[in-house]
Symmetry: C2
Subunit: 490 residues, 2 copies
């Protein structure tokens, strides 16, 4: 099965529609984006880039990076977007593991790119600025279509264990993700999607692809700032935004008594279940929140909870999107409704595997084993209890950090909370909690423990609670629980 190149098709359908609104209200149309991407593709071919080879990029969010993402299909190559927060050794590992020969970098990473080049003399490096500064070309070498099952992007993820692995994301995976999301969210001529999440994560990259498939503009804000994001919704006509819960909490704090316009129709909330207090604040302000469950391996959203269930199905990630299916299994057996086990998933948006890795540990009979723990209630709503790797086992009982965090975040003095395991002689492991207090609030550990005691079984009570200035999060805003213990007093 062949697919037309998405940007090529979009630019032929609606050439004059706006593709991107970036800083200082710079706007480009789909026709202009096509021209940039075609030129970049020609330049990549001039560098010797071959079909099916990996092109790495280490770039800030920018119009140039968007054009680069869309230039790749014209070349038949695969793009590996590198996380810009990684250290040089981490980057080197991913470059080598993915067999990248070409690295495109933003000027702000020129130094580290040179360092990488020094460590790996085979690496060809070029700044994205130079790549963009090529003249428009008519180049007969550019491809007209792609194979649906060809790999478009490779994204590294740590998975449940071991070294990071490159998730293969095909055109068909990305396409199906965009279609599944549209069937769930709908699509209108007024739609405009705000992107403040990193483009090197699937949360950001997927929005770029949707923009072209749907024919809607994105508003690009390279760094998340709550006031600026609120302004885009209030004044720039944004109708959809992707967030994680601490971004949303900060936006609410920043907006005060203001309200978003009626036209704002979806706050797509990923990265784990949100605390009740946050959702209640959204209900009071009339913000339609869609909570989602997804991962790099499912090319973003896999399940989504509609806003009408925000409170009645608190903690749920909703139901799997139209083309997606899930099962809850334990030791290879499908569990009945209500019982917690490993979440396994299937669908056209699910990766076929990892770059240069045997997929047999992750896939059984075509179902991807996510390593996440959850259950499905009588009405078919998915509850993700926790990432398996974060599971705390205390005295033989499973303790889910997310559950304790949600309770703590419900306390009026607490802005956000993180929970991890400490070793315990008596119980094997016990949970320990870290909280960020709201401005002006004083820390009272005893009161917080009482608050937890009223709401949690005894074996789930944190052994200790610490007040900290901030929680460790990755570039996508996801809480990094395994780094919490570094916050313990020495």
């Amino acid at each position: 099965m062949r697919m037309p190149i998405w940007l090529e098709k979009r630019a032929s359908l609606t050439p004059d529609a706006v593709a991107v609104e970036s800083e200082q209200n710079r706007r480009i149309t789909f026709a202009e984006l096509r021209q940039r991407s075609r030129s970049m593709a020609a330049e990549l071919l001039n560098m010797g880039v071959q079909p099916e080879e990996t092109v790495a990029c280490l770039c800030d969010s920018s119009l140039e990076l968007i054009a680069l993402v869309h230039s790749i299909p014209y070349t038949g190559a695969m793009l590996m977007p590198l996380n810009t927060r990684l250290t040089a050794p981490e980057l080197l590992y991913q470059l080598q593991d993915s067999q990248s020969r070409v690295l495109i970098y933003s000027d702000s990473f020129a130094h580290i790119a040179a360092e990488l080049k020094q460590a790996n003399s085979m690496l060809q490096i070029l700044s994205i600025h130079e790549l963009s500064n090529t003249a428009a070309v008519v180049d007969t070498r550019l491809l007209h279509d792609v194979a649906a099952d060809a790999v478009y992007t490779i994204m590294y993820t740590s998975g449940t264990t071991g070294a990071p692995k490159g998730v293969l994301q095909s055109y068909s995976n990305h396409w199906s993700s965009a279609i599944g999301s549209m069937l769930n969210l709908g699509l209108t001529e007024q739609d405009k999607w705000l992107v403040t999440v990193p483009l090197f994560h699937i949360s950001g990259l997927s929005i770029l692809l949707r923009s072209v498939i749907y024919g809607i503009p994105i508003v690009l804000q390279p760094k998340f700032a709550p006031e600026q994001a609120n302004a885009a919704i209030m004044e720039q006509g944004v109708t959809i935004m992707s967030v994680v819960s601490n971004m949303l909490a900060r936006m609410l704090e920043a907006m005060g008594e203001a309200r978003y316009p009626q036209s704002f129709r979806c706050m797509l909330l990923g990265g784990g279940p949100a605390p009740l207090a946050l959702l209640q604040a959204c209900v009071e302000r009339g913000i339609p929140v869609m909570q989602t469950y997804g991962m790099t391996e499912t090319c973003s959203q896999f399940a989504t909870l509609s806003p009408q269930y925000m409170l009645s199905k608190l903690g749920s990630a909703g139901k799997p999107l139209f083309q997606s299916e899930l099962r809850i299994v334990s030791s290879g057996v499908e569990l009945p409704t209500g019982q917690a086990g490993e979440i396994v998933v299937r669908g056209p948006n699910v990766t076929s595997g990892y770059f240069n890795r045997d997929a047999k540990d992750s896939f059984i009979d075509g179902w991807l084993h996510t390593g996440d723990i959850g259950y499905v209630d009588q009405e078919g709503f998915l509850y993700v209890l926790d990432r398996r790797k974060d599971l705390i086992i205390s005295g033989g009982e499973n303790v889910y950090p997310a559950e304790i965090e949600a309770v703590l975040a419900g306390h009026p003095a607490v802005l956000e909370a993180g929970v991890a395991a400490i070793a315990d002689q008596a119980w094997g492991q016990r949970p320990v909690a870290f909280v960020v207090l709201r401005a002006g609030e004083a820390f009272a550990e005893g009161e917080l423990l009482d608050y937890c005691r009223a709401r949690l079984a005894k074996y789930k009570l944190p052994a200790e609670i610490y007040a900290v200035a901030e929680l460790p999060r990755n570039a996508a805003g996801k809480l990094l629980r395994r780094e919490l213990l570094a916050l313990l007093p020495q």
Copy 2:
């Protein structure tokens, strides 16, 4: 690739949403429709229906027929909906050609079903009424998913030459058609689609499938009546309707000075280009018309013209939908922009071929040769000049009936027009025209010929023009040009 059964998935996502509003405001939800379809599927299995066998139906539009359409995937069989206007010999041909062993019929066709059974004693017949009257069952024989490339429906079409052939329509074909249409039209929570076209044609059947894929209700009106259709738009919240131009003309006549509500967002117009006068009347009344080009082989819409181009691109069918591609070829060579040739198409909505037929005449390198003639302008808009089988060749010049019809329909006295070829000693063929006059208008052939003369090249002028009471149309409302000559005075 497996796909979940669409109705099963839909009913799990939004069980309580309305699926169908039929006569007397009878409403059923997706959960209720699922129950009906599951029961019917169990009954079909009880009749001995096997996976991949053809089940024929000869049914009026009804809730029962809708449930039957959705029951098929649970059995793995294929459905062949028969055109209810066919004669017994025509029906027998299709039953035999498609190797149907089971025929489901509406009570109004009991007589003809019995006649078919008499002619073919192997045929098992059952009324859809009886099939519907089975109790709800939990049946472990019902399938949970389907292969994406399995055939869901078979529809007979006469094609360009020869006996009717059964077009194979797979789950993937129908799915891609629904997705392509959604990417073009958008999708909102308020959407509701009015169905007055026959369900045994792809125009009607495709709406049933979209309803379940999108999660939107359909309003079913088994017979088209302009007043009733207008009422559904005015009072029942319909946002989208599928029509052919003479249905639309009759609705405009019936609505007088009334206006549709703002919420009505799309009049999807198929079956050939519409006359200017009709489109102008729609512009005056603020009716957003989307003109489309499609066929049984493309599972409905292939290209669509957005309302903003209704007049500036008069006569165009727009651009191919997102996943679809077209080329204009002649003698195997792709023609440049602006030149007319055969329209060849490719995409995931395009059939893989015909039942029990070699597809090699219709497909070349994966492109379906439609037999239709058209060209693409500088901006990528498709103009379908004519169905090849209707092409008139006069003195070596190609004459397209649709062009002459459009001119005649622009005359104030003419409601609609049809043009066909008569043999001519001097020119080989010449066009002859048939017009239906508006109420109260008198026929003046000379004046009409003058009107044509001012607008058409001499070789395109009709040799004669006749006033007739109505034009021959098929059940979908498409003009049957080859039957026009029967209207000639004896």
